[in-house]
């Protein structure tokens, strides 16, 4: 492979990529948008925070200390039930608790799925705690909770969410970029133009894909920076492992994009199919919320989502959740080989004389 | 006595410092084919777009049908048909659907099937416009310009990019329109096209009309009966003294031309000088002047420069 031809090829593609408004948007700023939106939705504001509860109690017993002991709640007392309900409707408190000495009424707003589990937990722990106190029940089974760390660092929920954002960013950069190169350029006749030059298919592929790696890296570094600033992430990056993971993941996601360009000749159709895949993977790959919440049949589907494994690689290299060595090697190998094989095959198909 | 269809008076249009159209006046007469000839950037398209109502002149007047009707009036729009320089239609409509659509915008017109036949697009009747070739799109554009059976047809560089056969087909269409008493205004930078189709020709350059008239009138205006052209063989420098022959003009590269009323004398002097300066001549031809020669005489440049 001629280095002298690779350099101008790489520079040309790099200029093209960074001057193409659409491409810059979808590879750099789009993932950032997702980072900010999803980061706030699925991991809160990035720090430990107590959920706010409102309490109205009539009768002699004060259950405020009981509630506060039972979990990470911050309790505000309201003078009347109406004021409490107003506070719940207005979003001032997550859950309203009304206690009259014999029963507890829980008031809440429906539809807030990110808080659903918190509300459910609150209900059962508060009821249990109050019942225990009233009946002076002794704790028979004492469950000691021992936190473990799966990685090099004690991760927060923000760390997990941000690693998912990085995985999605790699997916976006890898998948859409090859649709641009092999789809749009092919349609416009740019590949045909290269075909009649002495440039080897491999040189072309390297020149065009190196640019995508560069863009991918820039995007990821931006995400890491912003997530540290906004969400106080505690990544402990193993840079060599991180580099390997990003390269193999980008190759793997390119393989996905290439697969779509081979199936769908029209680049716009391939783009649309890629958009659907991206949405499916965002929700089904266990990146933003646990697979445990998915119905069985969808959990099976998620096992086939490549981005699930990219997420695992990212968590490993960011020190959040370590993988066994075999798994790490296998995932990297599979992603890289798929990417290289499809790049080679596609390159030969579109760049060699038929 | 033919009526004046369009009266153009002192038309001006500038963009910043550039004078795209610089004080031009002319009339378009009923039933004639008027060609506006000139190189790229001469102001032809700007002129014609002002006549079509697509651009507003900075000063001057354009009036239709001897009734002081401006181009933007409804009556004018009903009576003109326009084929634009770059043809663009709705990509996902077929040829027939496109014609039907445009036909539906006018109160009167001809059927799309007739037009499809006229421009020989029968086989592509149901094809989406995005799948038509350049030549087919151009023919469709001409057909669209005729949907309302217009009195005046504007054709803006209708054969640019077409192969010779397609060009000939389009010329036939224009001549058929002429037989049907249509008034046609045609812009082109192909002199053969103007020579073949036009009753009258206006030559424009740098926003001005530099000459006008019938083909014969234009050629007669340069007072030349014949043109002797030749090429100097070899690659050595041509002596300046040789080039100081009366009436000699440089055409391109090592090709020159001499306009003359006395061919024999001119040939004699030419061979004498070539012998004197030891220059070998090639491709010596004698021809009658054409529009290109008119343009070169007027501007000192070729039409295609």
């Amino acid at each position: 492979m001629s280095k002298s031809k690779l350099k101008p090829m790489f520079i040309a593609f790099a200029k093209e990529a960074f001057r193409n408004k659409l491409e810059v948007f979808f590879t750099l700023f789009f993932p950032m948008l997702f980072l900010i939106l999803f980061g706030f939705f699925f991991s809160g504001s990035g720090g430990y925070s107590k959920s706010k509860l409102g309490l109205f109690q009539s009768g002699t017993m004060d259950i405020k200390p009981i509630i506060e002991e039972s979990g990470a709640w911050s309790v505000t007392i309201y003078e009347t039930r109406d004021k409490l309900l107003e506070a719940v409707s207005g979003g001032e408190v997550l859950l309203g608790v009304t206690f009259d000495g014999t029963g507890i009424e829980y008031s809440y707003r429906e539809g807030d799925l990110s808080q659903r589990s918190t509300i459910t937990m609150a209900q059962s722990s508060i009821s249990a705690a109050v019942e225990k106190r009233i009946n002076d029940a002794k704790t028979v089974i004492v469950l000691e909770k021992i936190p473990e760390t799966a990685g090099r660092t004690t991760a927060t929920d923000a760390d997990y969410t941000m690693s998912g954002v990085i995985a999605i960013s790699i997916l976006s950069a890898g998948m859409f970029s090859v649709i641009s190169v092999f789809g749009r350029y092919r349609k416009r006749g740019v590949l045909k133009r290269f075909k009649i030059t002495p440039v080897k298919p491999m040189t072309f592929i390297l020149g065009s894909t190196l640019t995508r790696f560069l863009v991918s890296f820039v995007s990821i570094l931006l995400i890491i920076l912003v997530s540290k600033l906004l969400f106080k992430t505690t990544f402990q990056i193993d840079w060599p492992i991180f580099l390997i993971s990003v390269i193999s993941s980008t190759l793997g996601m390119m393989a996905l994009g290439l697969f779509l360009t081979l199936i769908f000749k029209n680049p716009e159709t391939a783009d649309s199919a890629a958009s659907i895949l991206m949405v499916i993977m965002i929700f089904l790959a266990g990146i933003y919320f646990p697979l445990a919440f998915l119905p069985d049949y969808l959990r099976v589907v998620s096992m086939f989502m490549p981005v699930k494994y990219v997420g695992e690689l990212m968590r490993h290299s960011l020190g959040i959740e370590l993988l066994p060595v075999m798994n790490f090697v296998l995932i990297n190998l599979v992603l890289s080989l798929c990417g290289i094989a499809l790049l080679y095959f596609t390159g030969r198909r579109y760049l060699k004389a038929s | 006595m033919p009526k004046t269809v369009i009266d153009v008076r002192n038309l001006k249009k500038h963009y910043g410092e550039t004078k795209a159209v610089d004080d031009i006046s002319f009339q378009l007469m009923e039933g004639e084919v008027l060609a506006i000839l000139g190189p790229n950037g001469a102001g032809k398209t700007t002129t014609v777009e002002m006549l079509e109502g697509l651009r507003k002149p900075d000063s001057g007047a354009v009036e239709y049908f001897e009734e002081k009707l401006p181009p933007s009036s409804d009556r004018v729009k009903e009576e003109i048909g326009v084929q634009l320089q770059s043809s663009s239609f709705f990509e996902y409509l077929s040829v027939k659907e496109t014609l039907d659509l445009f036909r539906g915008l006018y109160t009167k017109g001809v059927s799309s099937d007739e037009l499809i036949e006229e421009v020989s697009l029968d086989e592509k009747k149901k094809t989406y416009t995005k799948n038509l070739s350049g030549g087919q799109l151009q023919r469709l554009a001409v057909a669209v310009s005729l949907v309302n059976d217009p009195k005046v047809v504007f054709l803006d560089e209708p054969t640019t990019g077409l192969d010779p056969q397609a060009r000939r087909m389009l010329w036939e269409t224009v001549l058929n329109l002429k037989k049907r008493q249509k008034t046609i205004i045609l812009t082109t930078h192909y002199m053969e096209e103007a020579e073949h189709l036009a009753d009258r020709i206006i030559i424009m350059d740098h926003g001005k009309i530099i000459s006008r008239g019938t083909l014969d009138e234009l050629i007669a205006s340069i007072e030349t009966e014949d043109i002797v052209s030749f090429r100097v063989k070899g690659e050595e420098e041509i002596p300046q003294e040789f080039l100081q022959m009366e009436g000699l003009k440089h055409v391109e590269n090592r090709t020159y031309a001499v306009t003359t009323k006395d061919v024999e004398r001119t040939l004699g002097r030419l061979f004498e000088r070539s012998k004197k300066f030891e220059i070998l001549l090639d491709d010596v031809t004698i021809r009658k002047p054409n529009l290109e020669d008119v343009f070169i005489t007027l501007t000192g440049r070729k039409l295609r420069d």
Binding site: G111, K138, T149, I276, A292, L294 | L105
Partner: protein
């Protein structure tokens, strides 16, 4: 009139035959509807069926006698419908390794001496029974699983007391959903319907509309149309009718899917709900026209359209309530018209999610509509390419 109708028909045919339009206006929203209802439908209804966490158990001694109570409890939470799938380990190291590898969500250790302690505690009411639970800090599935098991053990403690105490006092608990009418339970498929409907409307108004206008200008198609008798108002009316028709088609499709597949109830036929959708169409179309006013090039319109689409989808409350966001982002929520439009539709379905009065739900989008139309009117000639 017939000229305008003929032109509308041509525009509509041209639009509907383009795959991209079909995809973004019809197919993509329905796919998203399917994904959201599949993923969140179970979560939202509080239906724990289908939810399962992996529980690793390490028994340092076999459970016998009173210790069997624990076996029963573990058995009941791992049976059909329970939230756990359990696996027993021979040693703690293996279990912890699987915990760190993600194969288990939590690991419960039943230490030596549990049998004796269970006997002492249950028979003699002396001492307690310590168990250890290992979980991964920060990992949501692990934290939730740990909390669930913790609550289960609390319930077990109460149950034990109940059986020992004759005069045990049960504390009854009731739920009061302030955001929905009392007579109906929360139905996520119904809740999400206005969000998906608005998404379909937005895809037409933020993509098709501005991109179409700019495309026709840039390609020269508009220029050709200006040489015909078609008036600017007729052109524009045709464009508007085409958009409305496309939106209506996509909404009809959504209605059919919602009624037949997801069994969404009749509130979506409430005249006020339908009026709110029409209002949403008007506001969204005007917003799209404003986008066309600011974008000179096709690529700019695409980028701006996509950004606004995503922001409005997620921060406009289409899928998740957004009023708990930090104020740094919440002001955006209050700025977006979709926040008010989707809440307005939901109000007519019987839900009150947003802390916004009815007046503001109508006024704010109206302000946006007037502003957008004004901007477009001022830039009309530029957008349409008139000289």
């Amino acid at each position: 009139m017939s000229r305008m109708l003929k032109f509308t028909s041509g525009l509509f045919k041209n639009e509907i035959r383009e795959f991209q339009v079909m995809f973004w206006s019809f197919i993509f929203p329905l796919i998203l509807y399917f994904i959201l209802t599949s993923v969140f439908g179970g979560m939202a209804s509080g239906n724990s069926q289908g939810i399962s966490f992996n529980l690793g158990i390490v028994k340092e001694e076999n459970l016998t006698g009173f210790g069997r109570v624990l076996d029963e409890v573990l058995g009941s939470i791992s049976s059909h419908g329970g939230p756990f799938v359990q696996r027993e380990y021979g040693n703690l190291d293996e279990a912890l390794e699987d915990l760190k590898n993600g194969k288990q969500d939590i690991v419960l250790v039943i230490p030596k001496g549990t049998n004796a302690k269970m006997t002492g505690s249950l028979m003699l009411q002396v001492g307690d029974v310590p168990l250890r639970m290992h979980y991964i800090s920060g990992k949501e599935s692990s934290s939730i699983a740990a909390n669930i098991l913790g609550e289960i053990m609390n319930e077990v403690n109460l149950e034990i007391k109940k059986r020992q105490e004759e005069n045990y006092i049960d504390i009854a608990s009731t739920n009061n959903v302030v955001s929905a009418k009392q007579e109906k339970g929360f139905d996520y498929n119904e809740y999400i319907f206005p969000g998906v409907a608005l998404m379909m409307i937005l895809s037409v108004s933020l993509f098709n509309s501005p991109i179409g206008l700019i495309q026709y200008r840039v390609s020269g198609t508009n220029k050709k149309l200006y040489t015909t008798p078609l008036k600017p108002l007729e052109y524009f009316s045709a464009h508007f009718v085409k958009l409305v028709f496309t939106m209506l088609m996509s909404l009809v499709l959504l209605y059919i899917i919602a009624l037949t597949v997801y069994r969404v109830q009749g509130t979506i036929f409430d005249p006020r709900f339908i009026l709110s959708l029409i209002y949403s169409m008007l506001v969204s179309v005007s917003f799209g026209l404003m986008v066309a006013s600011f974008a000179k090039k096709l690529s700019t319109a695409t980028v701006v359209g996509q950004s606004l689409y995503q922001v409005m989808m997620f921060m406009g409350g289409l899928y998740f309530p957004v009023f708990d966001l930090p104020w740094g982002l919440r002001w955006i929520v209050y700025l977006l018209p979709t926040t008010y439009l989707v809440e307005l539709s939901r109000r007519f379905m019987g839900y009150t999610i947003a802390p916004i009065s009815m007046t503001w739900l109508i006024v704010v989008p109206l302000i946006w509509m007037i502003f957008s139309v004004s901007v477009f009117a001022l830039n009309f000639r530029k957008v349409m390419g008139y000289e």
